[in-house]
Subunit: 356 residues, 5 copies
């Protein structure tokens, strides 16, 4: 789980407060306009830069990277009738993936996955506002996840430019969700490597690493699961903003999340297996050591006793039964034979018990 | 779980009995009246003090802190048509969070969280009666959780004064529920610290502490979960007392409880991991001790046996094979070399087994 | 679970067979008649004693304590049109709590809890037949659980006498279910005491006691859970026998069962924790013993070896290297110093490992 | 689970192949005809023997014991319009309990339990075809489970002969399901005995026996659970073949299966408890042995060391500090006192640790 | 789980990319045409080869084995109006079993099981497009799973040729699903063998083998479970493409998957039992070794001490109490008797503890 983000209890709803680390990230804004025949891209500074373009019948995509300009967002909300609660969710990061219906608008929150290096993952909130002709996307920072969609629009590849705003929203959501594929793939590889090395080095830190895996898997599972629910809602959307034929595409994307979840669940089973393996290997090691200890003690305790017997200082002079062995010419040989036969007997016992 | 509170079996329903510790807490009562243009605050002593104000078209909020005046509550119930069962629930603490529909009224019970110090938490019951124009709140004791709402009304901040009684109820519920955010946050921090110190000091008391954490998490999870259900019911309310646009605010609050539950579930996983870690660390410690014991015994048992052999009292005089070593000029050196080579052999064996 | 009670396979349905221990318990029967203005109580012997009273518009409650008169029950069923299957359930004990709708009748089975002493609980079946104007209750034996209701009717306390037969049924069910409160309360107390004593005396019998607790909790949980379902069905009753305003009372009673279930679930968690605690304390004890053993062996094995060395019988006369220590004037001191320094070294090693 | 029975992949649906062990069991067929006033029983050889009787308004029950006459079944299916898939299910054993609706027919599969001896159970498939006036039952072999129903019809006991074919089907299903009562009862008894003997003889075979119990319980639970679902479907039947008043009887039978499931679940808990008990008893035994070992080693290692000290051969002649004890007149007594005081000290230490 | 297959994030939907290992597998295509009276089989090379045949009223089955001809698939999609997303799913392997409704078409994905040898399983994707008169099947490679259906059509066996395209689709799906029967059967046998050998050789590799079983069972359970859902959807199909009487056949096939799932679940229980057995057997072995060690140490530690006592060098000359035993004529016998009596005492103690 990321950090729990919350405003002080009792704060009025729809209060806009930015986490400090985002306050100085000036948003970069752009506007894309297209229809089947044309495509235009504009850099935008203020809210007024937008108006000349929005009158036409074209589909518009307003993309905002960065949150550090509350006033801009307030104007945006005013002009595009974004509900104060939706605006709050855009700026107050830490929302879970969800889709909410407002009057003539769908408000969608997704999590975008970045894998920096092995095991360290970063997630970012992406907010999407879908109206009839306009799609507004807000990212925490500039990123390249949505670039392929922009490029496909620019190139007019496939049917991208022939379809409506809902299809654009689909393409953006699909791009965000596909991002989890390489993440899960590399997680699976790391798990495999880890499992292979587990038996060789079952150190105590391993436990923490397994727990770390579990936490990561749970984290991703939760995100993907919620995003599956978002897609499920869009697939069955009744607001009228999603056309029937676009729903087929959402269903396709939904299928991808289900495949992801299947893999994550098998990862979960793997970590459970690893934990078992780890615990067993500890208990087997103890077992083996106790075995060695038992065998050694079984052999040497009797031997030492025999040696002790003949180390006693009874005086053979005092009586004929007083350690006559000490006086025998082959007493030492006798003692050694005794020792050897006891040893052999004990080892035979262990052999029969299959402990040797 | 708190104490199980119940009246003697067979008591008539809607019987009003106060727990003894509340009988002498005289309630302090206040009335707030407002509309878009005005705001008034009155201190109230008896039920009759209320009537001059309630005729107007304004929204009224009657707040009662303390339960120790059953007669007042009976008059209140009479005048505001509060159902006897709802009144019983207000006074008979130990209700679970819930919302119940009565004729033209919603009766809502919530739990309010106070964190006193580390690990010690107190919960208090808040009852809310929502009618078309009036909101009645009853708390166990005077507290400051609802103050921010009062302050926002006083200041006319945001749209608080423009909206209806249902929005007031929302603002109060939101204030109560937001209280869980800092609680959960500090619980998470305590858990982190605990986990870090667990490996260093895996004493037996740790188990009890982990169980204590579990109990607290279960307790809060249950409360928040029930409160999420309350909000879910209010979001889908069909009594007509909650306006459509207020439902959007309840949905926002519902989202907060879901985020809380997510965090609590990850805490739950953490305590499970801790338990595992604890148990493993015990078994690893045993394993390590057995390892030391085995190595030591393996080295010294054979050595002691060798020393025992040459401590035997066979008389070399009696025969040429009777411990001739004792008579050798370098017998002692021979014995020491024997000891050293046995030691080296055993250590090499353990080295190969990776036990050293 | 109680004993599994069943009739021989292949028995015709609705066959009336009494368990032998109930055959000789002659039922004691009484009739209560009341309306808002009057209240009458009659002792009844035969079915004919009932008829003079049932014609009026008053509400009647027929209470039967004991089952040992099959003929009486058959006449009762005939006159009040009780379905043969319902009659079978009344007499064939071992039914689970349930509510069944028959033509113009509700047939309700509940379990009544008696706590005799610590840990020993007895449950009894109560059957309730609710028609428009008549309530029939059948208990296994005479008991005082329903007495408070009788008393309230007699005294005309509250609104008891103003309401219909469905409210009487509610009052009876409420009295039965409230009986679980003290039971659960005392179970919780016993659990607390047990947990406190667990660490002091972790004997083997403790396991059986924990299992016994679990069984009891499961038993009560199951009963209360089924009774919650019964109340849920009555709350949503569509037979027309339960008035809307009575349903509010059933909802209140339903709430009580939910609170009970919450407590029982937290008891369940407690037993799980206890089990863990128990198992851990065993493994910690083993760990501690192994620690003592390892330290002792580590100290004394080397020492004994050193003593053994100087007990060897090599003859210092035979060569200058043959145990010259034995001839030294301070040889003994040297050996003692050797012993002390080895001891100190080993203890230092354990100190550093934090095993001391 | 029984053997997995299946036809070779790619076989056409509704192919009739009999398991070899059933091919030579010639079915014995009988026809019962009855109405309120009459009852007739006929032995039947060929399909033509049936026709004279089926024209009347009476209820007919055709019972077939044994499967080894595919041709007969094909004619039966043809004349009574049994669907090829239903016919396949009758002959291809290994179906799960289920009810299927075909045109004007209900096709019901049940499992019949036989308990041969302790722990060894046999299950048999019973197929029932219910049409408006005719009930056809097919059993694997002749058996006496359905006899009581036949006898009740013959005797005209109860209302058996007054009701329709659906009631006959009920009576048959009830007879089959009641058969599980003694099975579960004896399983419970076996479990109790087992549990009592577990602590005395915790041998390794016990684990296998617990697993065997689990498997049996799971097996019966699954069968009864599926049969509960069958009854649930019949209770809510909408094909028109089951009359409303018969549904009350199915509800009664459904209740029985629920009671059975309750018992089976408590058995399941018992086996879980037993497993825990078993594992704990192993770990407690190890613990106890380690305790004895530790105490013994703690006592004798120091003693042996002391004895070893005074067995050293330092020559008291060489210096005044060279083992002067050996020359003391009470040296031996001194050594013995040393030994005793060390022993007492160590035992006191263990006493304080509560290990003694 | 198989490999996670995915296209680079941001790829346009419905992009056709073949995994490299499939690019050079030229598909072999065939067309079957039949009605009640005729049956024809054609080998097909290009899309144009198909058209002469499709005009008639006959049912057509187009079977394509191999994917390495994207252009052909694109033409196919164009002519038979296969949706781009369905086409993508046909070629982009790694889809889960599912059924999707497109305009006038059902698109079904199944997994086909091949068991190569013990424990190694291969799964292949089969895509089926069902329209009113045409069924198109696409397999990864040529295989013989669908051959029996082809043969039944060729031979006109049963009612195969009398029914519509939906029945053909059923027959194909049934053939694919029946393939899991022998797979599950042999898995069950392998499990039985494994379990039998587990107690004899509880080596560490066993854990990995159990996990491998679990993974396989989970894999098959998931496939069969999803295929059950596919059949459930077809059973309740509302697109009009599946006739009522065909639905009965799908129900029959659905029943088969449920039986499979029952078996797989009992396998799952078996692996859980095995794991328990394995862990227990390790802990029992340790227990037994500790027992042997304890007994041995208990016997020999005291004996060695006694021998050590009489090995002390106190000089009996110095005082009458200085080891007088050494001077006794029967001192040695006395010592031996002492040793024997101690041994007997200790063994008696263990006997009483039931450790011997």
């Amino acid at each position: 789980m990321g950090k729990l983000r919350y405003l002080p209890p009792g704060t009025a709803p729809a209060t806009l407060i930015l986490p400090p680390e985002y306050q100085h990230v000036r948003p970069s804004k752009s506007l894309l306009e297209y229809d089947a025949h044309s495509f235009q891209e504009h850099r935008v500074e203020t809210i007024d830069d937008l108006f000349p373009y929005l009158e036409s019948e074209k589909i518009s995509w307003i993309n905002i990277d960065g949150l550090g300009d509350i006033e801009f967002f307030q104007q945006l909300a005013l002009h595009f009738r974004i509900h104060p609660l939706a605006l709050e969710d855009i700026l107050n990061l830490g929302q879970r993936p969800k889709v909410e219906e407002y009057d003539c608008q769908l408000f969608i929150v997704l999590h975008m996955a970045h894998e920096r290096k092995q095991q360290e993952m970063k997630f970012e909130q992406v907010s999407i506002v879908l109206t009839e002709k306009i799609v507004i996307t807000v990212q925490e920072r500039s990123g390249d996840v949505l670039n392929p969609v922009r490029q496909r629009l620019r190139d007019g590849v496939g049917n991208a430019r022939f379809m409506r705003a809902d299809y654009l929203a689909y393409a953006l959501i699909d791009a965000v969700i596909d991002q989890y594929f390489p993440l899960i793939d590399s997680l699976g590889e790391t798990l495999d490597n880890f499992q292979r090395s587990l038996l060789d080095q079952p150190t105590r830190e391993r436990i923490n690493e397994i727990h770390e895996f579990r936490r990561n898997i749970a984290r991703i599972h939760r995100d993907v699961g919620l995003q599956r629910d978002v897609l499920g809602q869009l697939m069955r959307d009744e607001s009228g903003l999603v056309a029937e034929r676009t729903k087929l595409y959402f269903r396709d994307c939904y299928d991808n999340t289900v495949v992801m979840l299947d893999h994550l669940e098998s990862f979960r089973d793997s970590t459970r297996n690893m934990m078992e393996l780890y615990l067993t290997s500890t208990s087997i090691r103890t077992n083996e050591m106790v075995r060695v200890l038992t065998i050694l003690a079984s052999v040497f305790l009797p031997l030492t006793f025999i040696a002790g017997i003949y180390g006693m200082n009874f005086d053979p002079m005092r009586g004929r039964l007083n350690m006559p062995e000490l006086e025998w010419p082959f007493g030492y040989l006798f003692a050694i034979c005794l020792v050897l036969s006891v040893t052999i007997g004990i080892l035979a016992f262990f052999k029969r018990k299959k402990w040797l």
